[in-house]
């Protein structure tokens, strides 16, 4: 069990670093806001990774679940004056149900077909959010503006710092849950379905139930991220949840590292910071630089950043062993 203890130690170090980071003098509120976004994306990517990385189901439509989570939070806070923290569990349950229901018909589809179905979902959701019949709730094209919550108990920190800690708290719980889910019986079942679903069936794994439940859990994670993201950005509108968001999420999962929990964090860092780096390099065509980054990353690290780091570590270890 030394492996698990080592993992816990590493996770502990990362959490301590994450707690200290915003308190370092000179880290502006904007930087803290960016870090909050990193955490938000990390949660969403973890959700998508459970589905795509561990269970082998494609999704080009997770932006839709993100949008649902964000709108649940925004409507609850703006229309019903509910406190911000109460929106997270509600968004979780709503997205779990929506994801599970979407996962049922998606059972029949595989590979490219599933990609198309989820793609359709990602396109449909912004259109539906704009629709007149629910404008009273969603604010139509205008969207909804929400107010940033104040830190409780008179804590001497800024609103951005408080939101960061709140998000970090949620993120840690969700990461621990995912880790527990994936390392045991359930995790093995998911991987077995991904690798050879027929063999998994023969071993007594109820693959239909597992697959649709995985869709639900994955959507739940992404929905929670959506709710947290909406609170941090203080604004939701249909045009923030275009197909681009779904593609960004998929990019983050693959770049971070498929089927790895720490990969979600690296993916989130990539998703948040690379566009800035790209536009520093070239103001004229930042997305061309971004595209080149994607291709070069995939060429150098086909298993994502986390896979690349592990390979590097293994290489160093074997050098040391032979010397």
């Amino acid at each position: 069990m030394a492996g698990i203890q080592k993992n816990i130690l590493w996770a502990g170090i990362v959490v301590v670093l994450a707690v200290i980071l915003p308190l370092i003098p000179g880290v502006s509120d904007y930087r803290v806001f960016q870090l909050t976004l990193v955490l938000v994306y990390a949660i969403a990517l973890l959700g998508l990774n459970v589905l795509t990385g561990f269970n082998g189901q494609f999704s080009l439509g997770h932006g839709a679940f993100y949008a649902v989570g964000a709108y649940v939070a925004a409507i609850m806070m703006d229309k019903w004056d509910m406190p911000y923290y109460s929106t997270v569990p509600v968004a979780a349950i709503v997205c779990l149900v929506v994801g599970f229901l979407f996962g049922l018909p998606a059972l029949r589809l595989e590979g490219h077909y599933l990609a198309l179905a989820t793609f359709a979902l990602a396109l449909a959701v912004p259109q539906m959010l704009k629709h007149k019949s629910i404008e009273e709730w969603t604010g139509g094209v205008q969207g909804i503006v929400i107010i940033k919550p104040d830190p409780p108990f008179g804590l001497p920190i800024s609103q951005d710092q408080w939101l960061y800690y709140f998000t970090l708290f949620v993120a840690v719980i969700l990461f621990v849950c995912a880790w527990n889910l994936l390392r045991g019986r359930t995790g093995r079942a998911l991987v077995a379905i991904r690798d050879y679903h027929m063999a998994a069936d023969t071993m007594g794994v109820n693959s239909a139930l597992y697959k649709s439940l995985t869709f639900g859990v994955s959507a739940m994670y992404t929905g929670i991220a959506g709710a947290l993201g909406a609170i941090a950005i203080q604004f939701v509108a249909p045009d923030s949840f275009t197909i681009l968001l779904s593609i960004t999420l998929l990019v983050g999962v693959v770049i971070g590292g498929l089927a790895s929990i720490p990969g979600a964090i690296f993916g989130a860092l990539f998703v948040v910071y690379t566009p800035n780096i790209a536009s520093d390099i070239s103001k004229a065509a930042p997305w061309a630089i971004y595209g080149i980054f994607l291709i070069v990353f995939m060429y150098l690290m086909p298993t994502g950043i986390w896979g690349g780091l592990r390979r590097l570590a293994a290489l160093i270890a074997s050098r040391r062993g032979s010397a």
Binding site: A120, A124, M298
Partner: protein, 289 residues
């Protein structure tokens, strides 16, 4: 009744464009089993090349064929320079590479030609169809699509090169053993796909106007058409395109209005796929366990 006929014919014209994009996707799919997400942006780029040539004073048809030739060369180059390095990569890595290509083309086009919408001429504007029910451009688009389909069919069916390409796609190892240069066949497939895509782009540009984002929706329709018709079957993909084009127009006119027509069309496609997972005309895959 006139409205109905007009909607059907303009649906057929849109369908022809979806069909061309679907055809380009099928070309790459049959050779490599990958869906090229950058196909639409490649077509958009070809279109800008044609626009630039026309802007410099080249006559339309010369610019048309020059753009096709340049796209063909571009497609071959992309396969040889970039995709070749990813032959053994997992599917998701490839999807990321395609997304990378997509944003590169989009961004570079915007950088060179700006994001301002441009007009693109239609060669069929002065064609006389003899009736008000069919637009001249619509008729031209359908005709061109059918010409391409026939040409491709003849090429693959009756030329040695076409045979070699089919062999390379179906059984790369055996093809290699009998002396087919499999890598170059893949590159040729990419070139042909880029050329077909270029035609689709130049046909759609007069309708939606030229701008770097013009192909985003159309690629999705092409993708849906290809899956609807059966992604392994070029004829089916073309038919899928026509079906989708007409369906979309009729749904938009008679059922729910224009703001949700994309959604409804896609929902229909997905529901068809749930009952017929390999598409309407696709081969049912039998897997050996």
């Amino acid at each position: 009744m006139d409205l109905f006929i007009q909607q059907v014919t303009s649906g057929l014209a849109n369908g022809a464009i979806y069909a061309s994009v679907a055809l380009a996707l099928v070309m790459i799919y049959t050779a490599t089993e990958h869906i090229n997400f950058a196909q639409g942006e490649m077509a958009m780029f070809s279109c800008y090349v044609a626009w630039q040539l026309i802007d410099w004073g080249t006559p339309y048809w010369i610019a048309f064929f020059a753009a096709i030739a340049i796209s063909f060369a571009g497609g071959v180059t992309i396969e040889r320079v970039i995709l070749r390095r990813f032959h053994n990569a997992p599917v998701l890595s490839l999807i990321i590479v395609f997304i990378g290509l997509l944003v590169i083309f989009n961004s570079v086009a915007g950088w060179i030609w700006s994001f301002i919408i441009k007009e693109f001429p239609s060669p069929f504007r002065n064609l006389d169809t003899g009736t008000t029910l069919v637009g001249p451009h619509d008729l031209g688009v359908v005709a061109i699509t059918l010409v391409i389909l026939t040409a491709l069919f003849l090429f693959f069916r009756f030329t040695p090169l076409g045979l070699a390409m089919r062999a390379a796609a179906q059984n790369p190892v055996s093809a290699k053993l009998v002396g087919v240069r499999v890598g170059w066949m893949l590159a040729l497939g990419w070139g042909l796909a880029a050329a077909v895509g270029a035609v689709a782009g130049m046909m759609v540009a007069p309708i939606v106007f030229l701008d770097p984002n013009m192909m985003a929706g159309i690629l999705l329709y092409g993708f849906a058409s290809a899956l609807l018709g059966g992604i392994t079957n070029p004829g089916g993909a073309v038919l899928g395109g026509f079906i989708l084009g007409v369906l979309e127009n009729l749904v938009g006119t008679y059922l729910i209005g224009n703001d949700l027509k994309l959604t409804v069309a896609l929902v229909i496609v997905v529901s068809v796929l749930i009952f017929k997972p390999s598409g309407l005309f696709g081969k049912v895959r039998v897997k050996r366990v």
